[in-house]
Symmetry: C2
Subunit: 626 residues, 2 copies
Amino acid sequence: MPGPVWPTSAATAALRPLPLDDVTFAPGGFLGHWQRRSATRSLPHCIGRLGTAGNLDNLRRVTGEADGDYQNMWFADSDVHKTLEAAAWQLGRTPDAAKLRAFFDTTAALLTKAQGEDGYLNSYVTVVKPDQRWRDLHWSHELYCAGHLIQAAVAAARSGVGAELVAVARRFADLIVERFGTVDDLDGHPEIETALVELYRVTGHRPYLDQAKRFVDLRGHGLLNGEHFGSMYLQDHVPVRRAETVAGHVVRQLYLLAGVVDVAVETHDDELLTAARRLWTDAYGAKTYLTGAQGSRHRDEAFGDPYELPPDRAYGETCAAIAGFHWNWRMLLATGETKHADEMERALYNVIAGSTSPDGTHFFYSNTLHLRTGHDGSHEDAPSQRLPWYTCSCCPPNLARLLASLSSYALTTDHSGLQVHLYTAGEVNTTVDGSPVHVAMRTDYPWNGRVELTVTTDAPITLTLRIPGWCPPDEVQVDGTPADAADGHVRLRRDWSTGATVTLELPMPARVVRPHPRVDAVRGCVALARGPLVYCLEQTDLPPGVTLEDVRIDPSAPLTVSRLPDIPATLTTSANVHAPPSDALYPTGPAADGRGEPITLTTVPYFLWGNRAPGPMRVWIPVATT
Amino acid sequence: MPGPVWPTSAATAALRPLPLDDVTFAPGGFLGHWQRRSATRSLPHCIGRLGTAGNLDNLRRVTGEADGDYQNMWFADSDVHKTLEAAAWQLGRTPDAAKLRAFFDTTAALLTKAQGEDGYLNSYVTVVKPDQRWRDLHWSHELYCAGHLIQAAVAAARSGVGAELVAVARRFADLIVERFGTVDDLDGHPEIETALVELYRVTGHRPYLDQAKRFVDLRGHGLLNGEHFGSMYLQDHVPVRRAETVAGHVVRQLYLLAGVVDVAVETHDDELLTAARRLWTDAYGAKTYLTGAQGSRHRDEAFGDPYELPPDRAYGETCAAIAGFHWNWRMLLATGETKHADEMERALYNVIAGSTSPDGTHFFYSNTLHLRTGHDGSHEDAPSQRLPWYTCSCCPPNLARLLASLSSYALTTDHSGLQVHLYTAGEVNTTVDGSPVHVAMRTDYPWNGRVELTVTTDAPITLTLRIPGWCPPDEVQVDGTPADAADGHVRLRRDWSTGATVTLELPMPARVVRPHPRVDAVRGCVALARGPLVYCLEQTDLPPGVTLEDVRIDPSAPLTVSRLPDIPATLTTSANVHAPPSDALYPTGPAADGRGEPITLTTVPYFLWGNRAPGPMRVWIPVATT
């Protein structure tokens, strides 16, 4: 059962994905637990909200089964589609989930009924402004919604759960090819590009790929009405082939780049792939937060200038992190470079993991790195706590579709072997070059850097283990001896025929991270990290009366790994509290003495912040200046 | 001739303004030169743009003299009104400016003609949605525009240049009182409050004051539709009497607070004045930039959390700085506390002065404190250079009305004497407690801290000279001897009968300014200042190949005052250039050595930035860490 992103055999590919059902996360492992929580809590929560928030009623207004006014954002169909996609992947792995199956079937039937004779399907346009179809593409999200419908259908096709939805998507895709095959027109919000390539991969119908390429190439010529937000917001200011920097609305940019890589690998378009590489260097070299979040500006939900990375006004939309994850996966498949898996891991364990509450039903849309003392959290764009749903609730269903398919992102294969990118407890039953391969993976990752892999196969495969970028390569051990860890991985050949166990030891000491000196917003600060996890300081862990902003850390003090209830690894170190010497906002004269009242500082994994008590939090902690 | 803000004799007032025409700035002085430039360049520029941008045509569409669609923002009338106000103050001082008089008269006539039978006057509503009058007040700006019309009429009344406009404003104000006197409704954008108080001051008609008070008290009860931006954006989340913090859209907040003080002093409402004091402490203690700019967020043009003051994303709208100037002036009159004059001075010489190009025809709408290397300046909200006009061009005419009336903000009087708040070359001919007083002021301020004042009067007045907050009080000299400078001023009694000259020496060494330790965004940085002027570093003053972000300053190095063409005082000091040790965005391990290539750093007054060559600029300069 192919998972999301399944390049054709003709595609440019350094690595190939494993079928989704070839990899099973153990429920007790970190990712397995999370995936299960998403299936049992988050996905049902989303399904419930689609009902109560009115998304499904919008479609029923098209079919005549509901009346009243259209509800929600004009692209609210996309939340239905993303939830359907999540359901499809989930049903592919657990086909006997009866309630989920019922949701899938009734919703697919609703979409079938809501679809126009000609294949058109969009409840907002159909209900609210039927005469405006395709008229307002810079803002209407019609093709964006279509893209998510297609993605849901692709998931349904691959997981074998619903031919009806696939037929709906094909009818709509055929209409899109017919309508847009010869006119110079495109959607303000990318998404259709990657969707059409995926539909091509499912169907082998070449016009879908051609249309995706066409949309990629039409973009950047100012065809879209940029009146309100400007062309850059829509990535319509410069063709992606010539773009030097990621720019504009982050989710739009990253969805586009996922589609760009899909088109590039299927059409062997090296220029496009080179453009994607160039933009990757810009994005991850100067416009990404330590947590993997992207989007430095609330205004326009946008990338900022290079090194503009304010922690307190980090936008870091959850959907952007998911989009970045999707983009990096495609880059990893295309190039085989482990830096892409590094960025997947960074985002996954920090910004993405942090976006959801332990109960799986509350979410951050934006993901700050500093909730200030005195923060006004009354705005949905920067709440102080995770919320159950949003006016624009794109993120929760996006999380659900990612989690339902997460096991497909952990390993890859090539003609000679198997590559492990994400470590978590689980099992792999797959084939490499035609030969069956079984892998059992045991680990407490990310809490512990020890990974035991038992590989059983008659084939002489190479097992490639990623050495994360945070890990000093010369300290990595395999089976107790220093490993030859070059270019971000170790390659192991063994006699696997009777099952050989490899023990990888990724040293995981707590470490102090500094910002690049051009990241002005966190100058004079350090962050703490351990393994892939970024840590943060929460008000709730400070002594009473201490203001978060007054804490100064000693970056040379020892870091101790400890634990708290529900937090397997905290980091503890020395700091002091230094109350401001005066109220003066801009004093003249020498700097105040940095010495203060000594305290022991406990920091917790960023992704767990805000779970014990709401309150101020910061990732970057100022260094004592004495 | 009363200037703007003219409390009645019954008002609570520690100090009283001087008539506008009692103070004349010398054309060769700093403020006089600026005022003249505004009159000869900026005001004609605004008048021209009102024509070419279509603002005047909108009014002509009401009268039938123009056709075509309404142009510009829906509150574009307000730019006409603000320009008219500037013209009125200017004509009051220079009545024989024939072209200006022609503009004033024809525009007043146009407004008269455009006014409805019942007194209503708003070109957008009248032309575009006549059936929506007063229907959409949270967003329509109808009372905001009315407020600026009234302010223009107040200026016309006081300067005696046009009874016609006064009649228009009164008809509209009467309609407003009739319409809003008993219903609980108000405008989303404050401005009408202060305007109605001023109209009450001109006319003595009490219902205007009552209506202003009513609008102040109606606000904060969630009466406005906060659907899109939220109640806080509109200051409708909490009544001002109970508000603890300034919040929401900055210009709205500050215009409201100007009106709050006006209502408070005219109605002897101590609770209101106490609220204004409380909000002042919040605004100027934790939410104001070193340049006097306010507004930390581009999104919603809003105040941020306490100490959230990012230099690179400073919004710092020019109109906000003007509004803050207006608010502080009212606070100064009400309380007599010199800190308010300090903040007027800070804003005036930095953010407000910096908003305009030397030729007086290019403007910043937002006023950043750091233009980053690689900044994308294609957005109007953060351009790299001053622009001649904006889609929302509220700032240029606002500057024009401030500058045309600037001489009314320099001094005050009370029963016992005269207070000098802003130092600039000029002359005062006024009366104190009925006695004529003449003052000649000679100074190169702000380039030099020496101020000579020759006072001639038969009355035994006290001359009070403000000692700015930036000036160490124990170093101030009067006539060569240490002055008794307490509470931000020195008080001098002399025998002025034959003309006595007082020489005030405000020591003006270059100084290093640090941020409050909770201002995270500029931690590890200092700024340079001298007198009231904040300095900045521009790319154009760096050696070729040096990136602005790589400069590290030695805050203990001597600061030398020097000069450049057109810049009377630059500050020069030692720094080094320290290129980033690696490209890694988040390196692990000890901090890089802060030592680098030594350079001599030249900084220039902030208000002059961007005039010689466009390029990166920063106010806050990182300190070398060795």
